[in-house]
Amino acid sequence: MGCGLCLVACVVEHSKTKDILMAYKQETPRPTPRNVVEEGEEGACFSLQCRHCQEPDCVDACVNGALYIDNGVIKVNKDHCVACWMCVMACPYGCIYREEREGSWNSNKCDLCPGRDVPACVEICPNRALVYEER
């Protein structure tokens, strides 16, 4: 329904403090969401995040292995990433984001919230539009 709470949940979950006010008001740089709410004509809209493909184009495109598959979850090693944006070029869902941290850039993407049973965006969704299931 396009409220955007999933974006907020993502930012908070991936902040240092995991406190909503701290994440938005104090932390610099402010974490950026790893998901997006797309809105189209006639009310179509959805929250979109990495689909964690089985044969991901992004991982194949990554020039130095910063993107990797860990137990079915596609992760980015931000310290290894060289910001060449091959993944941005490759992801057919547009779900890899450019992120600036302390003057240097790296890719950023959904990591399915390690340590949580259900990703934060799914948990917060007030309309059960987001569901977490393995396919």
Partner: protein
């Protein structure tokens, strides 16, 4: 009609959005969710601001704000106190001076007329007539709606078995004495209709199409659907009548007795047009009266036409607004062959009605039911019809009280909407319901997740059913049948003799 400048009244808004800027993280959830554009992002200034005059007090933004920085408040700006010229009256005049139009509103009457439910108390058993523990003893809430025979006759078959000789009219079996009242597809959206239908099926009760027709998608719920035949006859066909559990002829509605309805053409999209069987974009106008009903005899013709069309297999209800002579009319309806009479009190809801009519026409359901029950009993025809009370039922105690006053069951509408999020902001008529209930804008309608809504409705019915059983237990009653018309178990507080007399109850202490 000239629209005058609105500037000089804009600041006299009813609500304001109290935003704690220190807590606002500018996530824009409130901006995205307000269909009235009461929250806006001022990009240049980098702040989220509110346009208070647009706020309808729906609380959508408040409910979703992740930092709870929003509180919706009534505007504290006060006019000079005046018993006669209350702010409400002043603002209404401003509105009309500006627009020259009829004041529109939604839901039921909001004025503080006496509420008899709140002046009736329920009796309880102590020592001499022990109460019943509903957790240990069976409690019967099942209710059959329909014409009951005066007496039962039996006969013996050739093989010697006893068989019921009396022919029983079609009955509607309700597992709880609570049904969902008529809310038309168009006034509400398909998601809400589907949630009602799913719930009705789940809990063993019925939902009502109103005069919006029955969307093809909901045909599978036909067994739990009451289809309405109203003055506009929208969506009425043989299939429609056949895909139902009962048929309801709507004569009047509590929120707007004596007037018709109007679904503006711009709301008639393709799906609604197909369901109502009218062209896309055409106004759906329900006339004030049925143009073929000017007497009880005419009504009888329609009742039997509908019975004929459905092979006498389905009960036919007639719904009227609670008015001064409801009792006499109800008697006529019973004699015209209806299986159930629905009386809709003046607090009953609506998707759109003129404010003056909603707040000034009709009578309370408590008085109407008591009067109708009395008259039908006096005339010895109470068994010929079931009585369904509608209009302003807020909780399970209201259900118990109205049944004790003489109803067989109740219809709930507004309560069902509240169960799925409605905050009674009374702006259904704008078609922009922020909760996705009374809107067919796909952007807004999707806010109502059918699955969640059905769960909430089911929970509500289950909760009320539990409470009703508890209350029956403390009265020492184990079947809802024994509660019906059992006015001895009610007492009034602060009521005049006249009121007690009409309600047919004693005063507390008697």
């Amino acid at each position: 009609m000239v629209m005058s400048s609105s500037l000089w009244t804009d600041n006299f808004h009813d609500f304001y959005v109290d935003r704690e800027q220190e807590r606002c993280i500018q996530c824009l959830v409130c901006v995205r969710q307000c269909p009235y554009e009461a929250n806006v992002y001022r990009e240049a200034a980098g702040v989220v601001d509110s346009v208070h005059k647009n706020c309808t007090g729906c609380h959508r933004c408040e409910s979703l704000c992740p930092t709870r920085c929003i509180t919706i408040r009534t505007n504290p700006s006060e006019f000079r106190p005046h018993a006669n010229w209350q702010p409400r009256e002043i603002k209404n005049i401003y509105k009309q001076a500006r627009t020259g139009g009829v004041l529109l509103t939604s839901t039921g009457c909001e004025l503080p007329y006496p509420n008899y439910f709140d002046r009736i108390l329920i009796d309880a058993c102590q020592v001499t007539n022990p109460s019943i523990d509903p957790l240990r003893e069976p409690m019967e809430l099942r209710t059959y709606i329909g014409r009951k025979p005066e007496k039962l006759e039996f006969e013996r078959t050739e093989t010697g078995e006893v068989r019921l000789k009396t022919e029983i009219a079609p009955q509607l079996k309700c597992e709880v004495p609570i049904l969902f009242s008529a809310m038309s597809y168009g006034a509400v959206n398909l998601n809400f209709c589907e949630a009602l239908a799913m719930t009705a099926k789940e809990v063993g009760t019925y939902w009502n199409t109103g005069e919006g027709g029955l969307h093809r998608k909901l045909y599978p719920y036909g067994d739990h659907t009451i289809v309405q035949c109203a003055s506009g006859r929208f969506g009425v066909s043989k299939t429609y009548l056949g895909t139902s559990a009962a048929i309801e002829i709507k004569i009047g509605q509590g929120a707007k007795p004596g007037i018709g309805g109007h679904l503006p053409g711009e709301k008639v999209n393709r799906d609604i047009s197909e369901t109502r069987m009218i062209p896309v974009g055409s106004d759906a106008i329900s006339p004030a009266p049925h143009h073929d009903i000017y007497s009880i005899e005419d009504l009888r013709q329609l009742i039997f036409a509908l019975k004929e069309a459905t092979d006498y297999e389905k009960p036919v209800f007639v719904k009227i607004a609670a008015v001064h002579n409801s009792a006499a009319i109800a008697s006529g309806i019973a004699r015209a062959g209806a299986d159930a009479i629905v009386i809709d009190g003046f607090r009953g809801g609506t998707g759109a009605t003129p404010l003056m009519i909603r707040d000034n026409v009709g009578i309370p359901i408590e008085l109407a039911i008591a009067a109708v029950d009395d008259l039908l009993r006096a005339q010895g025809i109470r068994n010929e019809v079931s009585l369904i009370a509608a209009g302003g039922i807020r909780n399970s105690a209201d259900v118990v009280k109205i049944i004790a006053l003489g109803a067989d069951a109740v219809y709930i509408g507004t309560a069902a909407k509240i169960a799925v999020g409605c905050t009674v902001c009374q702006r259904c008529y704008t078609g922009k319901c922020p909760w996705g209930i009374t809107t067919n804008d796909p952007r807004l309608a999707k806010r109502l997740n059918v699955e969640i809504a059905a769960e909430q409705l089911t929970n509500l019915i289950h909760g009320w059913a539990h409470e009703i059983k508890e209350m029956m237990g403390l009265m020492g009653i184990n079947a809802i049948e024994s509660l019906r018309g059992n006015r001895e178990r009610l007492r009034g507080v602060g009521l005049t003799d006249r009121e007690l007399n009409i309600l047919g109850i004693k005063h507390a202490g008697e």
